[in-house]
Symmetry: C2
Subunit: 287 residues, 2 copies
């Protein structure tokens, strides 16, 4: 099973550091979530991993060989990116043919079924499609291309709710039929939580989280109650974010709780979902 290794990866634009010394591994046959606030550098990272942009330092290795201009390695990676790389008069069917030319064994049968399910015309020109329909055409290509590592940058950009549901279902279906690795970078975190096994959170140029989703959520809590009791209970915890309504305070923590510690009456401890944990960890405000 092939593995991608990202070693001490740094990217600077002029004096700005975008990515600072990232070290991580992308394993075979797993679904990952790459999360981060706007401008965190997610697209830059995906572009570097796919040899569309170059690191200032560090390297990307597939089974210990650098992917840099390594066409055999790059044949195992596919990036569905936000930017449109296709010539102006490209039709949807041309995208399928180009993916077949580049990677071989394109799953045309699945592509035909999906164009019908998503109601997009194969003969339509990409330049005439709306944002949502363009995303659909790119998504179908990404689900049918023959590669072991599929990177999806904003796969639901402009998609309506019905089409988002359909995409999540079809992703799981093709993943079961032909296991491979998917990396999803998205802002609709609640929606992808059921799909994603492992999550990276990019913040301040580094991963502040590189963890199995279940492990992360097992330690992600909202603690609420009268402010003074909550403060007392959480005095030794690292409070990531908090809200106060009247005298009721809610604080968010992502760390194991001391099970021997007595929870005051009127203080409630609840698990939070991935979206809330993300907001707390990145200090985003939700309300």
């Amino acid at each position: 099973m092939a593995t991608l290794k990202i070693n001490q990866l740094t990217k600077r634009f002029g004096r700005h550091t975008i990515l600072d010394n990232l070290d991580f591994t992308i394993e075979a046959n797993k679904i990952y979530g790459l999360l981060g606030r706007n401008g965190a550098g997610k697209s830059t990272l995906l572009n570097i991993i796919n040899n569309r942009n170059f690191p200032t330092d560090g390297e990307v290795l597939l089974d210990d060989a650098s992917i840099n201009n390594n066409s055999a390695a790059l044949q195992q990676l596919y990036l569905m990116s936000e930017t449109n790389m296709y010539p102006k008069r490209t039709r949807v069917s041309d995208m399928f043919r180009l993916a077949d030319d580049g990677y071989g064994q394109f799953n045309f049968a699945l592509a035909h079924r999906l164009t019908k399910a998503f109601d997009v015309q194969e003969k339509a020109h990409l330049s005439n499609l709306s944002t949502g329909l363009t995303t659909i055409a790119k998504l179908i290509t990404a689900l049918c291309v023959n590669a072991d590592f599929i990177f999806l940058d904003e796969p639901t950009l402009g998609l309506d709710a019905g089409h988002r549901e359909l995409f999540y279902r079809e992703l799981l279906k093709t993943y079961e039929e032909r296991p491979r690795t998917f990396v999803l970078s998205t802002h609709l975190i609640s929606e992808v939580q059921p799909l994603v096994e492992h999550v990276w959170i990019l913040d301040d140029h580094q991963f502040i989280c590189n963890e199995n989703v279940d492990d992360l959520l097992a330690n992600a809590y909202a603690i609420s109650g009268p402010a003074e009791l909550v403060d007392e209970y959480t005095t030794e915890l690292k409070v990531l974010d908090h809200q106060t309504i009247g005298n009721i305070k809610t604080v968010y923590v992502v760390q194991p709780l001391d099970e021997t510690k007595v929870i005051p009456d009127r203080v409630k401890i609840e698990h939070i979902d991935l979206q809330k944990a993300f907001m707390a960890l990145t200090n985003g405000e939700e309300n």
Copy 2:
């Protein structure tokens, strides 16, 4: 108070009808939601209303004067569109200046505050910004421009959850300070439900809904229970969509219920939200 009237508007591309004889009014100082599945023609409609595209038939009137090449009328309309109309080296600050040149009295104070709040650099070039940051720059321009009708096509495209919340808050704030009309076209229906007073749903080239949101939701129901009892109760209703899990059936209707009709034991009737009502009305599948 100015009013926009859309009269018998039809748009065809070749043999394809996109919009079929739409008749509706856009009133002053209201927040509207324009909803529709991917490819329904929402962007085409917004472009026609803003004189960026032409109808095959029909007209758009501002206080009974056609907006077609009517620069005084067009000065009251502003469209934040998905397509990027700016020259390549445009900076964020240039967008503000251009909006001031075109409409006068641009709210620079608000723009400066919002660029800080959204963490976007005014001197950044638009072409170097990610999808999310580009949306933010366009949104800020739209919230600060001096026009009475502001049309926002996919205002949250690529925005993270924190920035979406911030946008909704700032939209309401500027709306309270300086009432005007906003038309939001978006696929994140649950998120905009609290903002929107009136909703249009575009489906099959026509409005299948043109209604006050509260009135719509007052008659939007999920009816669930044992299949045979649900079928019996709903026999005279127009069932828009249904799901069955085991013998438990849930059907969705958007119409007044006969209050004299006895509800069988074990049948549960609940109100649904705008997202669910939309899915039922457009026959989208959600699960």
